[in-house]
């Protein structure tokens, strides 16, 4: 096991340095002079230009620049936003809870609906239920989620007036400090209705972001279940006279879960990519919207830092999934 962990960590490090290289290279491969590009239409005075060159260290050799950058990264220094003048690191972690909360809700939504759907489809293989569920899963899988979001807004916010269109909570409520997780903060605050308001704001974004994971989980559960259901021990369990639901949901599902868990773990990237679109549409103040806004504002230190932090988060989650998988399934370790 130790050897497995070490070998996985050894592949992690070069990837990490590669990712820092890409985010380092980002500002430097912009066509034209990065400082002129960053200054935009206002332009810069020659003195200010010199100042900025020195500030970014563009006058030094590339290798030295990279070394300085890497040192900063390892100490949590990702530079400052041009727009807000705040450290990128602080901005990221101030907004990250919003994205995390939304992503967690989306993944819970996907699991709660996707697992039973997959099991029911597998048990009724080839029958009406199976076909209906799997057709809907394929539609969900093919869904352009930015359009899906607009449709839901038209129906639930426009026609029915049930849900708000944007934001995380009604403007009436405000929490000082707090964890940044709106549901949690609202639940423990003494402001009446805050929790319901936060929940209200979460519904549509959760559905939008959870749709593709839901489809993937349902399909994966179904195929894993089909494989398990043909095993001998399932026949034994049935022959023993156990109820079908016990056989399906306890005996079979438990063993079908391993590939499903892997798929869920590998979905972080999908979720973060989806968060870019979902957050932009619902004006959700998370890192997805932050990145898009920064790209449009040419706030390059933010783009650079955000890119790196997001990639590192994806890598860490993938590594954890790999390790867990090796832990659950000893066969993997031997490779």
């Amino acid at each position: 096991m130790l050897r497995y962990i070490v070998s996985r960590l050894l592949t992690f490090l070069p990837t990490f340095f590669g990712v820092t290289l890409i985010s380092f290279g980002f500002i430097r491969v912009l066509p034209g002079d990065p400082i002129v590009v960053m200054a935009g239409e206002r332009g810069v005075t020659p003195e200010r230009y010199k100042e900025l060159v020195a500030q970014f260290g563009f006058d030094r050799p590339l290798l030295v620049q990279y070394w300085e950058y890497l040192k900063g990264v390892l100490q949590g220094d990702l530079g400052q936003s041009f727009v807000t003048k705040k450290p990128v690191w602080d901005e990221f972690f101030a907004l990250f809870p919003a994205t995390l909360e939304l992503s967690l809700c989306a993944i819970v939504f996907a699991i709660v609906l996707g697992l039973p759907a997959g099991v029911i489809a597998a048990v009724n293989r080839g029958k009406f239920f199976d076909r209906a569920l799997m057709s809907s899963a394929l539609v969900g899988y093919s869904m352009p989620i930015f359009w899906w979001a607009l449709l839901l807004i038209i129906v639930f916010s426009g026609w029915l007036g049930w849900t708000p269109v944007s934001g995380r909570i009604s403007l009436m409520y405000f929490f000082d400090g707090g964890t940044g997780f709106m549901l949690w903060d609202a639940l423990w605050s003494d402001q009446k209705g805050a929790f319901l308001s936060a929940l209200h704001h979460l519904i549509l974004p959760t559905i939008v972001l959870g749709t593709i994971p839901l489809a993937v989980i349902a399909r994966q559960t179904r195929s894993a279940m089909l494989e398990v259901l043909s095993e001998d021990y399932i026949r034994t369990a049935r022959a023993k006279g156990l109820s079908p639901s016990r056989v399906n949901f306890v005996h079979a599902l438990r063993n079908a879960l391993i590939p499903v868990i892997t798929v869920i773990g590998l979905m972080v990237g999908t979720l973060l990519a989806g968060a870019i679109l979902t957050e932009t549409i619902f004006s959700w103040p998370g890192i997805g919207k932050w990145m898009v806004d920064s790209i449009f504002r040419r706030d390059y230190p933010v783009v650079q830092g955000g890119l790196l932090l997001i990639a590192v988060i994806v890598m860490i989650v993938n590594l954890t999934v790999d390790m867990l998988y090796g832990f659950i399934n000893p066969k993997i370790r031997k490779r």
Partner: protein
Amino acid sequence: MAETMTSAAAPAAAPRPGRLREFWYYFRENRGAVIGFWVFLAFIVLALFAPVIAPHDPTQQFRDALLKPPFWQEGGSLAYPLGTDALGRDMLSRLIHGARYSFYVGIVVVAIGASGGIVIGLLSGFAPRWLDTIIMRVMDIILAFPSLLLALVLVAILGPSLTNAMIAIAIVLQPHYVRLTRASVMSERTKDYVTAARVTGASTARLMFATVLPNCLSPIIVQGALSFSTAILDAAALGFLGMGAQPPTPEWGTMLAESREFILRAWWVVTWPGLAILITVLAINLMGDGLRDALDPKLKRS
């Protein structure tokens, strides 16, 4: 052995007689795949003959017909069957022309991504271990970024346009082809027919492209179909975010972005472009599922 020898000697360009028929036999069993195939065919026809089929020019503005609803609603007319947008442009014509862009995106992205990925994957499979490791690590690095985010940043560097969006999406999709090709090469290259070819004096290039590649094609073809739909989705997403095709191009994602402010007033300007994307992507995914079932020998006859 004899059979693998013949299939190795005859590359994909000249399939064994009956192979296509066998493929069609299995493909036909999947009804969804056949429906997907016909829809995809219709999509191609629309894309190729858009100027002939579309009733109006996609950029022509009818000033007296702004935001007209579809013909079955009050105020709609058959002149603009699916209504008009805020600038008085015919929705149906724009949708039909939009098929061209999506088709173009799919073809170009898959062509760049697949050809690059196959060559790199083959190299990686045949290369000495150190080179293989370097290539795979580079692919890991690309895969560490969420694809849409990386594409977005690449477009920000290159400048927003449909061409740059296509390049960005192709770069992002490429690692999947590399991994897939390499995995198949790894399992093929130790087989007897490859050794036999090597013993008869085939060069490495010949081994790579003529001997091994034809036997690795099935998963790559399936991946090609699936990334065709991913490319369309991502290009539309980039267009929606303002980083893909620029207005007034009737690209479906860009059309959606332009229609956002009218969502509560004119449902049709929002509904049609998205529906077009969904139907196209769904058809391709259905087809991809069928392709996989028909090409994957493991699932065959099970």
